[in-house]
């Protein structure tokens, strides 16, 4: 063995053992290296956290989703717009496991096939969803709502003997501040205003610490001030989490969006910045019905 060969070997070992740098690129490795697959872990080395390809769903012959293909990058904030019946909510139903597509592939990261999982499993994998109509546990307090959403073991036995530890309390307090409900901790969720319920539901998503948030009309029914605060919140979430926002409020979209996807009749009609899609002839047509 020559010193040259030994040096070469040492260099190789150092290269293999070098810490993984970027998350979005191929992890700083050259193309020849393999990745270790960890079950249940989201693999985003291909730069995609969510990936839908040629998805079809029909309800009694009505094609709600018709060849939809879409992907979301890690840390991206994507806005989805489209006329009523374009399939926005159905798309979220498919991603979260509520509806099974007739055909197509839906992947979370590169390795997790979402079509093989049910709703609670998908939620535990790291996809949080806010419904169009604010859905909170009305009879429970704000605190209890957030506590239930907390990321922890969700089995029967662990729930029976659950106690909040200090790190979890801190997290809860932090989220309470984020959603501006810190002075209403013990209020019953059913007594909150519409906007506050929306906030509480967003807070519950944050407690789950999801990698991807699906938000169906998050600012519907909010005052202008609340809407502005929500936009601010989403912009701080961007980067740490990936967000998919379905909204009709164009000024809200203008504040937060960089990339907008227009859905129509169950597939993607246009994609680009808000200005680009707003000047697109086909988009104007479906919106104005010419």
């Amino acid at each position: 063995m020559t010193p040259d060969l030994m040096e070469e070997g040492a260099r190789r070992i150092a290269r293999v053992q070098a810490p993984v740098i970027g998350q979005t690129e191929s992890g700083g490795r050259s193309a020849g290296f393999a990745r270790i697959a960890t079950p249940g872990e989201v693999d985003i080395t291909h730069g995609r956290i969510l990936y839908l390809e040629d998805v079809h769903v029909s309800f009694d012959g009505f094609k709600a989703i018709n060849g939809l293909s879409l992907d979301i990058a890690p840390g991206e904030l994507r806005c989805i717009i489209g006329p009523n019946g374009a399939g926005k909510t159905t798309m979220m139903d498919i991603i979260t496991g509520k509806t099974r597509p007739d055909q197509g592939t839906v992947y979370f990261g590169s390795t997790i096939d979402l079509l093989r999982h049910n709703e609670p499993e998908i939620a535990s994998l790291g996809i949080g969803r806010k419904f169009q109509k604010p859905t909170v546990f009305e009879q429970l307090s704000v605190f209890e709502n957030l506590e239930l959403a907390l990321k922890t073991h969700k089995g029967v036995k662990s729930s029976m003997f659950f106690r909040l530890d200090s790190a979890q309390s801190d997290r809860l307090a932090e989220v309470l501040h984020t959603i501006h409900l810190a002075d209403g901790v013990t209020r019953q969720a059913g007594n909150l205003s519409h906007g506050q319920k929306q906030w509480l539901e967003i807070g519950m998503l944050l407690m789950q610490d999801p990698k991807l948030l699906l938000l169906d009309e998050p600012v519907a029914g909010m005052t202008d001030e609340e809407t502005a605060r929500t936009a601010e919140l989403f912009l701080t979430l961007k980067g740490k989490h990936s967000l998919m926002v379905v909204e009709h409020d164009m000024s809200f979209i203008r504040t937060i969006s960089e990339k907008v996807t227009v859905l129509c009749d169950g597939s993607v009609l246009a994609e680009g910045t808000l200005d680009q899609v707003q000047s697109d002839e086909r988009v104007i047509e479906v919106y104005l019905g010419r």
Partner: protein, 372 residues
């Protein structure tokens, strides 16, 4: 930016200070005051507790256990069961089988077999009577049989996501089917006569005043213990998940909880409680027959819970006492009006007292507090 510290609410205690005092008082009444008033105070005295009253209260306490069990599944989890009479009857039948074997050769036919089997010309015990000789096995089966039936039924029903009124109807059908099955002579449960004429329990005569008092105390303690258990369950995070399932099941799923094991657990616990209630009921009333599985009985359990106030635990217990107290009074003074009264009561509670008696009391005390 550091988040300013925030006072988070502490977990609720099992019972408040006042709650514990009331609990201790109830325990003393059941274990000491009632036995003394019944056994030691002479029959002529104004303070004497009659045997009739002991039997009645003992029976109502069994009903109260059922109402408590109903509250866990209906009040807290939002699943209306109209089949809890079945679990009650199953526990009762297990106990009844043991009591039938305890009769020994003292029956009318002087045989080792229970009378009805001799009457049917059976030569040996059917297989499902194999364990009825052992008291220990009976104690296990009292919870195991209703628990297993509930578990299997619940597993299929909840897995198929059967909800609301459909679930109620299926439970009602289930108890009705079981009633028809138990009515038949060949199933070996004594047909429409069921089991009766019990002579002793654990070798001691069953109809003595002391034994009745013992059963009464046992029933009271079971009710109180179950109350504590239920209270512990609903105030844990488990209980809050149940309420969450009741209020917004889809949100529960999208928060990462699978509702199936939660529903199945509380459903099975609830059925087991009813089984224990049935087993305590049979030696006190001295009879069990398929009539206990009739549709009306299961519905009545739901009425007690609704009258008392759902999702309060104490409410359904109070409801069982109020409705059954009224029933035993009215069926004596004006028997023909009882059913009208029950119907009217149910309508009145549904229309005017959605939160039951407990809700009414809370409203009145709040008003008083606001007026001062």
């Amino acid at each position: 930016m550091t988040t300013p510290s925030l006072q988070l609410p502490a977990p609720a205690p099992l019972l408040t200070r006042g709650g514990w005092s009331a609990f201790i008082v109830a325990l003393i009444v059941v274990c000491a005051v009632a036995p003394v008033l019944n056994l030691l105070v002479p029959a002529g005295s104004a303070f004497h507790l009659s045997d009739y009253a002991v039997a009645l209260l003992g029976k109502i306490m069994c009903y109260a256990i059922c109402a408590l069990a109903m509250d866990l599944i209906w009040g807290y989890t939002g699943i209306l069961s109209l089949g809890h009479g079945l679990f009650f009857a199953l526990g009762g039948y297990v106990m009844g089988m043991y009591l039938m074997r305890q009769i020994g050769r003292d029956g009318n036919y002087k045989s080792d077999l229970p009378d009805f089997m001799v009457f049917l010309d059976w030569k040996e015990l059917p297989w499902h009577w194999a364990l009825s000789d052992s008291f220990a096995a009976t104690l296990v089966l009292i919870v195991a049989v209703p628990g297993l039936v509930a578990f299997v039924f619940g597993w299929f029903a909840f897995r198929s996501r059967i909800k609301g009124v459909y679930f109620s109807i299926i439970t009602q059908a289930m108890t009705y089917a079981a009633m028809l099955l138990f009515f038949r002579n060949e199933t070996g449960f004594g047909g429409n006569n069921g089991f009766t004429d019990f002579k002793r329990i654990l070798g001691t005569p069953i109809a003595t005043q002391n034994m009745r008092m013992l059963l009464f105390v046992l029933t009271g303690c079971t009710l109180l213990a179950f109350f504590l258990l239920a209270r512990w369950l609903v105030r844990s995070k488990f209980g809050r998940v149940l309420q969450a399932v009741r209020d917004a099941e889809s949100r529960v799923m999208f928060s990462g909880y699978s509702p199936l094991p939660y529903k199945l657990t509380i459903w099975t616990i609830s059925a087991m409680m009813c089984g224990v209630a049935g087993a305590l009921y049979v030696p006190q009333v001295g009879i069990i027959n398929p009539g206990e599985m009739s549709a009306a009985n299961s519905i009545e359990i739901a009425v007690w819970a609704a009258v008392g106030g759902r999702a309060t635990l104490i409410g359904p217990i109070a409801g069982a006492f109020i409705v059954n107290g009224a029933k035993s009074w009215l069926t004596v003074t004006a028997p023909e009006f009882w059913l009208y009264f029950l119907g009217a009561l149910f309508i009145a509670v549904t229309l005017f007292l959605p939160n039951g008696v407990v809700g009414l009391v809370k409203k009145l005390t709040n008003k008083k507090g606001a007026a001062q």
